[in-house]
Every structure is written in structure tokens, then in C-alpha cells.
């Protein structure tokens, strides 16, 4: 039924060498099929990608909740119990991801069950009856939870990323429109398994799905925002714990630059040997979870930062210490052994992402080829760039790799106001209770004219 274009990327067993080549090329200009071979031996995955521009995070949540309801609800005469038992027995798992340009549904299972997993995925996609109870449940599950409620660094990270990526203002999405949109054939199918013949899998996945262009939010995605710099503080004198985050969204000039920054952030805050752990946890005994953040959010764009949750009475002391760690790393005062460990951690994370996380590879691929595969071959240059770093050079260049401390945004949730820190910072925003971080991000952005 479907014509297809298949492109393989082969990654050497030790990931020291990457080779890429195109296999066969057939193309019906509706659903493009790309095949990777990076996952662990027994696992196969297929990601169905709808090219679908999303203006706001609220829209993105609605789309994901809708797709989740479609996966979770009954199908025809089959009860949800039957469906769940079937998935558990065959070890079939679904996951949903969204970017401002794509909605991604990934189905994953052991290779021996993958054809029935694909049939099941198609059965779900062909079912146009959406159960309202499940839709309400999933809308609730995908609701916004503010980082100021739970005070976790993961929620702060997520709020900052959403602020940067979703910059439009159109909010409403009609249920029927979403249903129609997700009922059409996906624009791309990305397969991933080692030594596995996907044969008819694309045809199985696409069976019975109709062909038409995207109808929803077909406007171009608005440019991303920059994060402002300065300090945002939600003061809470009663709190015993205060979360400190200091970071930014960094645009990298080159992929090497990106891998170098990743290595430096691993040095500062990944694991027990890192500077954050060594100084803030082991020497100062101040935090259980000091760590660094490095999350790629678009092509050569990542959220980077450092965070720690500390006793409220100590927050300003540790805040200064976090900046000391950042400054020292930026000055290149980094040990050879620590840098080597951090480089190995960065490489291990890369390998783990390739072997175990099909969605990670799909997102990296879509950043490069959002609409269709290239005519010739796929080259994820980030892999080569990561393997080819020179550690001494990173230390020498650290000042250029990491932004100046004054360019960072600090988010403090909890604790008393520190008048010295407040008065010394030109860009300071005291976050009112019950307001999201976005409230202050906008104020600071206006002050810095970043829109």
C-alpha cells in the first residue's frame, strides 16, 4: 500500500565509528519511512510522527492527552482490561512525545512480538471513537503542575523549556479537529532495531489510515524566545527547603561546542565525583541532590544549569557556592581525571540514549529532517563530534564554551529574601505566590527587550 524510503544508519558496535548509507528509495510523498539500527539486541521500535505545528504548551498538552486517551480507551468490542492484559503479556509499550513541530507516538516491544505490536498500534489509530472519560483523565494527567508547588528541579527545567519553545498565543483546539488530525497518516515513520527485518511493518502501521495534509495549526512555528538573565525568587519564610537553579538556554555555534559544554556540565554536577556533589554535598553537607542539567531541546540548543535543594537558612551561602563552582569550571581550573571521567560519562550517556531510548534518536533526527528524510544519507554529526573532543582544549576554551555568569537566570523557590543579593542584581523579580515562573520570565524579558 505505502511506498517508502528506507535509510539505514549503522552504528559500530563500540560506537567508535559511525557509518551511514542509503538503502532503497521509494517515495509516495505522504509517509516517509526511515530505519535505524541502534537499539539493544532484543528490542524493536516504531515512531509515528505527525508534522503538526504547535503554538502553545497548552495546545501541546491537549494533543498529547488526546493521543493518550486514544491509546488508553476501549477499542470496539475489546475492553480496556483485555487490551492491557494483551500488552503486558506481549510486553508492548507506547510512549508519547511532542515538540513544537511534531507529535510522536512510539510503540516498542521485543522483536519477536513486533508485528503484532504494529497491528495493535494500527488498530488504535483506526479507532476514531474517543472515550470521554479517558479524555478527561488524560487531560488531567497532562495538566500543568507548577514547579512552585512541588519545588523539584525537573519541573523548573520543564517550565523554562516550555517558555523558550512555545511562543505563540493561539490557545483553543477543538476535539473533533484533533481527532481528524490524528486519524490521518503520519508524515514519517521511524523504525529502529538491530538485525531485524521490518518487512511489511510500515504497511501494517498505515493500513486504513487516510491521506490528507495537516489541517490543524498549519502556521509556521514562531521563533523561540531567549531566556532572560537575572534572579526570580519565590520567597517563603515558612519553608524548610529551598530550591536553587542557575542556568540558561544555550545556542551552540558548533556540535563540538555542544559536546564540550555537555562535558563541562557533567564535570560540574553529574554523579558522586562531580564538583557540585563533592563540594555541596560532601564538604558542606548542604544538599542531597546537587546536580547539573543538560537537556537538548532543539538543533544545537540545550537547557543547561546547576541546581540544589538546601535547608532554607543556607540558601544564599550555597547560591554563592554554586556560582563559585561555575566560575572555576569556566576558568578551566578542572582536573584531568575529573574531565576524563566527565567525558566518559557524556559518551556513556550518548550510547545509552542510542541503545535504549528510541525517542531520543527520533528527536535528534527530526531536528535535522523535520519534514522528510534527505535524498542521500543521514548523518548525525553529533555522534562523531562527541567522540572527537580534545579534553585539554576544553579546559583552555571553557570561558568561551560556558556563558558569562551574568547571562544566567537564577530561580530560587523558598527561603527568605536576601537583601544583598536583591540589591546587587539589576534584574530581580520577586515571584508572587500562585504565579508560574513565566510571570517573572516575561517581566525580565520585557526589561531586557528579548521578545
Amino acid at each position: 500500500m505505502s511506498n517508502k524510503k528506507i535509510i539505514f544508519i549503522l552504528i559500530g558496535i563500540y560506537f567508535s565509528v559511525t557509518s551511514v548509507f542509503a538503502d532503497e528509495q521509494i517515495n509516495d510523498e505522504i509517509s516517509y519511512v526511515t530505519e535505524f539500527a541502534s537499539l539493544n539486541n532484543n528490542i524493536a521500535a516504531a515512531s509515528l510522527v505527525w508534522t503538526l505545528n504547535t503554538q502553545t504548551k497548552e495546545q501541546s498538552r491537549k494533543l498529547q492527552a488526546f493521543l493518550a486517551a486514544k491509546i488508553s480507551g476501549p477499542i470496539g468490542n475489546k475492553s480496556v482490561r483485555e487490551i492491557i492484559d494483551f500488552r503486558i503479556i506481549n510486553d508492548i509499550n507506547f510512549s508519547i512525545e511532542a515538540t513544537p513541530k511534531h507529535l510522536i507516538l512510539t510503540v516498542q516491544s521485543p522483536k519477536e512480538n513486533f508485528k503484532i505490536a504494529a497491528q495493535h498500534a494500527n488498530e488504535i489509530l483506526q479507532n476514531n471513537v474517543i472515550n470521554n472519560i479517558w479524555l478527561k483523565r488524560k487531560n488531567h494527567s497532562y495538566r500543568n503542575i507548577s514547579s512552585t508547588q512541588l519545588r523539584t528541579p525537573e519541573l523548573v527545567e520543564s517550565e523554562l523549556i516550555n517558555y523558550v519553545l512555545y511562543t505563540g498565543t493561539v490557545k483553543a483546539l477543538e476535539k473533533d479537529m484533533i481527532n481528524l488530525e490524528i486519524s490521518r497518516r503520519p508524515n514519517q515513520i521511524i523504525l529502529n532495531a538491530k538485525d531485524f527485518d521490518f518487512e511489511e511493518v510500515p504497511n501494517i502501521l498505515l493500513k486504513g489510515l487516510t491521506n490528507y495534509d495537516a489541517i490543524l495549526n498549519n502556521e509556521p512555528v514562531k521563533p523561540f524566545f531567549d531566556l532572560p538573565n537575572g534572579i526570580i525568587h519565590l520567597a517563603d519564610e515558612k519553608s524548610s527547603e529551598t530550591l536553587i537553579f542557575a542556568g540558561t538556554v544555550q545556542k551552540f555555534k558548533t556540535l563540538s561546542h555542544q559536546a564540550e559544554a555537555n562535558t563541562l556540565f557533567k564535570y560540574m554536577g553529574y554523579g558522586a565525583g562531580s564538583e557540585m556533589f563533592r563540594i555541596i554535598r560532601q564538604e558542606k553537607r548542604a544538599s542531597y541532590d546537587p546536580r547539573s542539567h543538560f537537556t537538548q531541546i532543539s538543533d544545537q540548543l540545550a537547557l543547561t544549569g546547576l541546581s540544589a535543594t538546601v535547608a532554607s537558612e543556607k540558601w544564599s551561602e550555597i547560591y554563592d557556592l554554586i556560582f563559585d563552582i561555575y566560575n572555576n569550571t569556566r576558568l578551566g581550573l578542572n582536573t584531568e581525571k575529573g574531565m576524563k571521567n566527565s567525558y566518559n560519562t557524556m559518551i556513556n550517556e550518548l550510547i545509552s540514549n542510542l541503545r535504549r531510548k528510541p525517542n531520543w534518536l527520533v528527536k535528534r533526527y527530526l531536528e535535522l529532517h523535520p519534514n522528510k528524510p534527505p535524498d542521500t544519507f543521514i548523518n548525525l554529526k553529533l555522534i562523531d563530534a562527541s567522540f572527537e573532543l580534545s579534553l585539554p582544549e576544553i579546559n583552555i576554551m571553557a570561558k568561551e564554551i560556558l556563558p558569562e555568569p551574568s547571562k544566567l537566570i537564577s530561580i530560587i523557590i523558598g527561603g527568605k529574601i536576601n537583601s544583598k543579593i536583591k540589591d546587587n542584581n539589576k534584574f530581580y523579580c520577586q515571584l508572587p505566590k500562585n504565579q508560574p515562573i513565566e510571570f517573572c520570565l516575561k517581566k525580565l524579558s520585557v526589561a531586557q527587550d528579548l521578545f
Binding site: N40, S79, V80, R81, D85, L150, A272, A311
Partner: protein, 429 residues
């Protein structure tokens, strides 16, 4: 309960992973037990030291077992490594055990044996470091509470069920300021005995080498009595039917937490009992899930958990966030009705076979991850039972007798002590 058998072809319980034979070591010296599990296709060796005591064994201060775990792990690191505290420690305190895992290659075997052995030595760290580790424990406990506010509500339900704040119920947040070095050392001295410890060595190692290393590092240990699990005698009031309503701002939603205690009295086959329990709990969980969540609209979200102790005591806990328009009283009533409705339900052979197949599939799925193997080994080991590999687990599941499975479901659906906390938000968010 009516029992109705439906003819059904058996699910295939095939398990195509390489065999893992659990071999009890002959000479265990002072240890409670020691096993080796050779895994040919694995490049590394894991050593799990299971202290057969956990948070249930704390006398009166919640969190002492956890704090002791920190001290023992950091002390073993300091005793063996030139650069201590520069690696990620792998230690975990559960209700009934504390597990330390050290991993390395064959060439690192002596180092990881030393690290394992040192856990049993009284923690040797500076007094100020030991004291300041309490701050780290505090931060960790608060961190986990923030990530999962439901933990607090479930603890309240268990406190009501057992009418206690220690043993099978606990108060780790409230007791944080009671933690002291002295109490942790006292806990260590009492529980971190070789004869209260089990060793599981798995991976690229054969029986002969494992025995040699156990004799080398544990040869000087002396057999003593295992520490008694006093908490096994802790049971709720037989007629307890407790409902507590609270108002809170600690949760994100109105929420019901429910705990129920019941028993499986036949202790003739303790290992077999575990397999029957896995299948039975899958069946009653599915029944409640269908009524309250999958087919019904009582719950916005619903999670359940069951635990069986070595004496056949079973503790069931459930957390339910009511669906839009359902209040907490209704949700509580529906949950209790759903449990009762099992009394009139015919459990079919098909349901039992599906539950068996799901358990096997689950084991098979976890066996894809080398790290998940270790969970299998330590799961039954934590109760002092021999460790079980995924393949052996599949056989246990296949062999579990239907009559025992039904007995457990009957016990679950019968009237038994229970406690519910109905938590309403101060202000609806």
C-alpha cells in the same frame, strides 16, 4: 466464592534466556546464607549483601535503618578506597532488609569483596561527618516527600491500621530530628551481624572462585543467632474498621488512602506461597482496577500494592484520586464494595492463566536489563529465602496451585482489619 473453571489452552510459559542456576555455597562461615549465580554472558560481577533488617526493625525512631545504611556505605568506602566518596554508592533500605550492591570486573573482585565485608564493621568516620550525614538524610527524605506527597498519606493509613508509629507503620519525616549517631551505631551493632546477612554473588564467576572468596573474606566470622523480626507479631485489631477524615494542603488532589490486613495461613510451602500470592494479587488488583478505574468512573487515578510477609501476613494498600464529581466518601464506599464483590465472583481458569502469563511476561521483560536481575535475586532474599532467578520465577508461577491462589483471594475479599484516610484539600487547586 463460586469457582468456575473455563477450558483454555495453557499459555506458553517459555523463557528463552540463558539459564541462571542459583547455587548455595557449602561453607558460609558466620553468614546466614550465601549463594552464587553464574551468568556466562555477563562481563561483570555483582555482590549483593542483604542485611535482613530494615525499617520495620527500628525500635522507636523511624529512619534509623536508613541513616545507618548511609553510615555503613560511606564507612566501607572510606575503609577500602583511596579516594572515598567519589563513586555512586548503591545501597537501599526497604521495610524488611537493607541491600548493598558492589559491582566490578573479575580483576576487581577482591576490591568489591572488601567493600562488601567492610559494611559489617562498625562505621568508622569522624564524629562530625557522622553527625552531618543526618542533614543529608533530612534533605533526602524531604526530597522524596516532595516528589511523591502520597507517601505521607499512605503512612497515615498504616499508622491507623496498626495503631502504631513504629514497626510496620513509621514516621520518617516527623522523627528526623530524633536521629542520632549513637542510635545508628546501636542499630548497626544489633543488626549488621554476619548471621543476619545474606550474600549473593552473581555474574561472571564460578562456584569454586565464589566459595574461595567467601572463605577468604568471611572465614573469620562466627555463626550466631539471626536477629528476630519482632514486627512479625505486630497485627491490627481484628475488628478495626477505621475511617479518618483530614484536611490538608500537602497534596495536589483530594485523595483516599486505604490499608487492609489479611492472612494466608498455610505455611507448608513458603516459596510456593510467594508465587500463589503474586498471581492472586494480580487477580484481585485487576478486579478492583476494572470496577473503579478501567470500566468505571470512580477514580481519576488508582494504584495498589500488596506485600506478603514470611509468616503469611498480607498488607494491601491502595491510593485513589476520585474522578470529577465523585467525593471521597463515595470513593471509599465503592472501593469497599469492589473488594466485597469478589466474594460472589467466579474466578475462571482463564483469569488465572492470564495472571500467570502476565507475571511471566513481566519477569521476562525485566530480565532484559542486567540491573533488574539483581532485583529478582534480592526480592525473596530480603525475607531470608533463597534468591530466585527470572527463569526459576517463571517455573514457580507455572506451578502455583490454584487452590492456594483462590484461598488468598478469598482472604482478601473477607472482612478483615482496614483503615482509610480521606484527605480533602484545604483549598481546591
Amino acid at each position: 466464592m463460586n469457582i468456575f473453571f473455563l477450558s483454555l489452552s495453557l499459555f506458553l510459559l517459555t523463557f528463552p534466556v540463558s539459564a541462571q542456576k542459583v547455587i548455595p555455597l557449602k561453607n558460609i562461615h558466620g553468614l546466614y546464607n550465601a549463594y552464587v549465580i553464574p551468568i556466562d554472558d555477563q562481563a561483570r560481577i555483582d555482590i549483593q549483601l542483604i542485611i535482613l533488617s530494615g525499617s520495620y526493625d527500628e525500635d522507636d525512631i523511624s529512619g534509623i535503618a536508613h541513616y545507618t545504611e548511609h553510615l555503613a556505605a560511606l564507612s566501607s568506602d572510606a575503609a577500602v578506597l583511596q579516594e572515598p566518596r567519589q563513586r555512586d554508592l548503591n545501597a537501599f533500605t526497604s521495610q524488611v532488609s537493607t541491600v548493598y550492591t558492589n559491582t566490578g570486573t573479575e580483576s576487581e573482585l577482591d576490591r568489591i569483596m572488601k567493600l562488601t565485608r567492610a559494611v559489617l564493621d562498625t562505621p568508622q568516620l569522624t564524629q562530625s561527618f557522622k553527625e552531618s550525614e543526618i542533614d543529608i538524610v533530612k534533605r533526602e527524605v524531604y526530597y522524596k516527600e516532595r516528589n511523591a506527597p502520597t507517601r505521607w498519606l499512605n503512612r497515615l493509613a498504616l499508622q491507623k491500621l496498626y495503631n502504631s508509629k513504629s514497626g510496620r507503620a513509621e514516621t520518617p519525616v516527623e522523627d528526623l530530628n530524633k536521629l542520632t549517631v549513637e542510635r545508628a551505631i546501636k542499630f548497626h551493632n544489633k543488626h549488621y551481624k554476619p548471621s543476619n546477612s545474606m550474600l549473593i554473588i552473581s555474574g561472571k564467576i564460578n562456584e569454586k572462585l565464589a566459595q574461595k572468596k567467601v572463605s577468604e573474606y568471611f572465614g573469620s566470622t562466627q555463626k550466631t543467632k539471626r536477629v528476630k523480626d519482632v514486627w512479625l507479631n505486630q497485627r491490627p485489631n481484628k475488628n478495626l474498621n477505621s475511617v479518618t477524615k483530614i484536611s490538608t494542603n500537602r497534596l495536589l488532589n483530594n485523595q483516599l488512602s486505604f490499608a487492609k490486613f489479611f492472612r494466608f495461613a498455610d505455611l507448608s510451602d513458603i516459596l510456593g506461597m510467594q508465587a500463589s500470592f503474586f498471581i492472586a494479587s494480580d487477580i484481585y488488583n485487576s478486579h478492583l482496577n476494572d470496577i473503579l478505574y478501567l470500566d468505571g468512573n470512580i477514580a481519576q487515578s488508582f494504584s495498589q500494592s500488596s506485600y506478603i510477609a514470611i509468616n503469611g501476613d498480607i498488607e494491601y494498600t491502595a491510593s485513589l484520586i476520585p474522578f470529577e464529581g465523585v467525593n471521597l466518601d463515595q470513593a471509599h464506599k465503592e472501593l469497599k464494595n469492589a473488594i466485597k464483590s469478589l466474594r460472589d465472583k467466579s474466578i475462571t481458569k482463564k483469569e488465572i492463566e492470564i495472571a500467570r502469563a502476565k507475571n511471566v511476561a513481566y519477569a521476562k521483560s525485566l530480565s532484559q536489563s542486567p540491573r533488574a536481575y539483581l532485583d529478582f535475586f534480592q526480592n525473596l532474599g530480603s525475607d531470608g529465602l533463597p534468591p530466585v532467578s527470572p527463569k526459576e520465577f517463571a517455573k514457580m508461577i507455572a506451578d502455583a496451585p490454584i487452590k492456594d491462589i483462590l484461598k488468598i483471594i478469598t482472604a482478601f475479599s473477607s472482612d478483615s482489619p482496614n483503615a482509610a484516610i480521606l484527605a480533602k484539600l484545604d483549598v481546591e487547586r
